[in-house]
Symmetry: C2
Subunit: 237 residues, 2 copies
C-alpha cells in the first residue's frame, strides 16, 4: 500500500522484538517451566494455565520479567496442587534471574538503520515493561546514543501515546511509530492519527495478538527494519 | 539553619513516605513474613536474612513490591532449608498482592500544601520504584492534578537527577526537592547544587539510612510538610 512519509520529523521505535530479541527468551523459559512441571500436567495444559495466570495478574503486576516470575511460581503451586517441590520454586527463581541478566542481542540491521536516520529525524524509544529492565537493556545494547528520548510506559494504549506526544510536544502528523506488535505499536498509533510501520518478529506473545490482523490497514508492513530506509528516501548505499 | 528560598521556580516531591504512607506496609508485611517462618529461625534472624536477600537482589530487581515478593520467597526457601510448606509460598504471594492493591493514604497536610503551592510553583513528582505501582498510587491518590510532570526513576543518584533536570530544562538554582530520605532526596540534590528540604517519616528502610546524618548539612529539616509554607512565604491562613 501507499503511505506518504513526507513531513515525518520524529520516529518512535518499540524496543522488545523491534530493536532486540525478547519474546524468544520468554518462550525458552516457558519450555523449561513446562519441563519442571511435566509430572503434573501435559505441556499444553501447563502453557495454557501459565498464560491464564499471567492474564489474571496483569493488572496487578504489569509487564515484565518479575511479574512473569511471580506468575510462574503461582502457576506451579496451582498446577501441582501445592505438591511442587521447594527446589522447583528455587529453579523457577533461577530461570527468571537468568532472563533478567541475559545479554542483549540486537536484531538484524538495527544499528545501520539508526545510524542512517539519526541525522534526519529525532529518534525516540517507546517501550512498555519494567523500567529498570528496559533501561538496563538499552544501556547494554550500546545504541542509546542514537536516541533523543527514551520513555518506558506502563502500557501502550491510545491515551498513553497521546499523553506522551503532547508532553514531548510532538505533532501526530509528524510522528511515525515502528514496532513488531500490531496491537501495541500500530493500532493505537493509527487511531490517534499518526503513522505506523509494522515489522513482525517471528514470535508473538498471545497477549499481543489481534483477532483479525487482516482488518488492520493504513500502515506499512515490512519484512525487515532495513527496508524502512527506502521509504524514508535514505540512501542504502 | 538559614536557607534562602528565593528564585525557586520548580519544586520536586518524593512520593513514598513524603506524599503518602509506604514504608509502614513493608514493615507490616515483614512482621507477617516473620510469623510465617517462626518455626525455622528467630524473628531477628529472619529480618536480617530478608534484608540481606533484598540487597543481594537489588541490582537485578530494582525497587518495588514485586522484587520484594521474590526476595521473600527466596528467603523463605533459604531460611527453611527448602522445607517451607508450599502453602506458605502461596501466603507470601498473597501478602505481596495485598500490598500492591492497598489503598493510598495521603500524609497529613499534603493536599493543603499542594493546593497552596500549585499557582506559585511548577510542581513535579520524582519517585523511584516500580513504574506501574507508582502510576497507580498517584492515580488512586487523587492528587495528580497538582503536578506538571511525574517521573519514575530507576534510582535516585546524582546523575539520575542531573539528567532529569537537564531533560526538563530546569535550572538547578531554581529547583527545590522535598522528601523523607536523606540518602535519596537530600544528599544527591545538595551535591548537584540544588536545594533540599528533609521531612522525615517515622519509619526509614535500612537501605535508605545514611551512616552519619549529623554530617548532612545545608538543607532544611521540617517536622511536617505543612511547615514548608512559611519558608516559601505562603499564607497559612
Amino acid at each position: 500500500m501507499e503511505i506518504d512519509f513526507k513531513n515525518i520529523k520524529v520516529i518512535g521505535f518499540d524496543a522488545d522484538d523491534t530493536l532486540w530479541v525478547n519474546e524468544t527468551y520468554f518462550r525458552e523459559t516457558e519450555e523449561r517451566f513446562a519441563e519442571l512441571l511435566e509430572g503434573y500436567e501435559t505441556k499444553n495444559k501447563i502453557d495454557q494455565e501459565l498464560f491464564k495466570m499471567e492474564m489474571a495478574n496483569l493488572e496487578l503486576y504489569g509487564y515484565g520479567i518479575k511479574g512473569f516470575m511471580l506468575s510462574m511460581i503461582e502457576s506451579a503451586l496451582d498446577l501441582s496442587n501445592y505438591k511442587v517441590p521447594q527446589e522447583t520454586i528455587s529453579k523457577i527463581l533461577e530461570l527468571g534471574k537468568k532472563m533478567i541478566s541475559h545479554p542483549v542481542e540486537l536484531l538484524d540491521g538495527v544499528e545501520e538503520v539508526l545510524g542512517k536516520l539519526e541525522n534526519k529525524y529525532r529518534l525516540i524509544v517507546l517501550t512498555k515493561g519494567d523500567l529498570l529492565d528496559q533501561e538496563r537493556k538499552l544501556e547494554k545494547s550500546g545504541i542509546s546514543k542514537y536516541f533523543h528520548h527514551v520513555e518506558v510506559l506502563s502500557d501502550k494504549k491510545e491515551n498513553n501515546y497521546s499523553n506522551l506526544l503532547e508532553h514531548l510536544e510532538i505533532d501526530v502528523d509528524e510522528f511515525l511509530m515502528i514496532g513488531n506488535s500490531l496491537k501495541s505499536d500500530v493500532l493505537p498509533i493509527l487511531n490517534i492519527g499518526a503513522r505506523a510501520v509494522h515489522v513482525p518478529f517471528h514470535t508473538t506473545w498471545a497477549h499481543e495478538m489481534v483477532n483479525d490482523p487482516q482488518q488492520v490497514n493504513n500502515h506499512l508492513k515490512l519484512n525487515s527494519l532495513k527496508d524502512i530506509l527506502k521509504y524514508l528516501e535514505i540512501d542504502e548505499d
